[in-house]
Symmetry: C2
Subunit: 209 residues, 2 copies
């Protein structure tokens, strides 16, 4: 199972095994084809073990969204350094182009995470529980990135921009790229990346006068 | 029915009546709850009339995506002027913040279109036919916006940027805003809008030296 997921090491417990199985089932069957049975099969666990941990599919999926955020935060912490500019780049790369820094030989699972994210998030158009969860997730990402930008301003590598507004704008751009690339035949990453770097250079980077 | 849709006037024929009914059914029931019966009910048409026009749900929904693009293009043509900067703003407003220029007293249907768009587009993560359709739609939007930018460069109101790359970046940003706002509790439009205008001012607008 490990080669097909972007999550390192063995699952620590049955909750984590269920999270990884949820990822694999979402990747293979999509949101529409997701069932508790299929997740239990992927995790080699019984349905009763599953229901010991989660009330229903929605309970599982909101936990899964939290798991992805925690995995992301963990991956970022492992890469984080004392250099705010380096941290900014790592943070952006992790979401904008996870293949570029994946340590896996086959980086396609990192892209598949983005597809499952888009499918789950689209449920929030109709579902209030998902909407509340993704609002919370967005704010967590915004706070993390705003803090990195504020560090960069303090260190003199970024201009004196509004960290919150800049973080919101950048994450909106990244969300748009994620939404588009996972739902297109081609991959516009290179064009978007070039213009993204251009924006950072012009708007964010501090150029001593 | 008219007050609940963003489409002006009476439907010209039963195909258009089905398109409007599809919008209303998507808005009310979401993608998961969409059925031919519900669409037929909304359109006051029989299921057999429906099947006279469309093979199945997927055939209908790809036609619906084309309909939305055609409606958008029609709305833009009605507003378009000889002023490239004005055209740029109208085009962006129509997608980024349709309420701001809606002529309807209640602009919420314009926002609901964005929600149905997000739900439909998310199907493309798993479905190749949808993926091909949204790739085509993206390119149509990119071509339209690149042409407006090229007009602005020729008229001297925009800098000598790469029109295609700039259009791709702007549409990625707009897609991100659409994806986020339709799946959150709050509406980050004002913050995104302010930073978007900032980007246009710094990167795109020509400032005589």
């Amino acid at each position: 199972m490990d080669a097909d997921t972007p999550f390192p090491g063995e699952p620590a417990d049955s909750r984590e095994a269920i999270m990884r199985a949820t990822f694999l089932a979402l990747k293979q069957y999509g949101y529409a084809g997701l069932s508790i049975q299929r997740i239990a099969d992927k995790a080699d666990l019984s349905k009763s073990t599953f229901y010991h941990h989660y009330d229903d599919k929605q309970d599982l999926l909101t936990a899964f969204v939290d798991y992805i955020l925690a995995e992301f935060t963990r991956a970022f912490s492992m890469e984080a350094s004392d250099d705010p500019l380096e941290n900014f780049r790592t943070y952006v790369d992790l979401i904008l182009d996870p293949e570029s820094i994946s340590e896996l030989e086959d980086p396609s699972p990192a892209t598949a995470v983005l597809g499952t994210y888009v499918e789950l998030r689209a449920q929030a158009v109709q579902d209030e529980t998902f909407r509340a969860k993704f609002t919370e997730i967005d704010r967590a990402f915004e706070d993390q990135l705003a803090e990195i930008i504020a560090d960069g301003i303090a260190a003199g590598v970024f201009r004196d921009v509004d960290p919150d507004r800049t973080a919101t704008f950048l994450l909106t751009m990244i969300a748009g790229h994620t939404f588009r690339r996972t739902t297109r035949d081609d991959d516009p990453t290179d064009a978007v990346r070039a213009e993204f770097d251009n924006y950072v250079e012009r708007t964010l980077r501090h150029t001593p006068e």
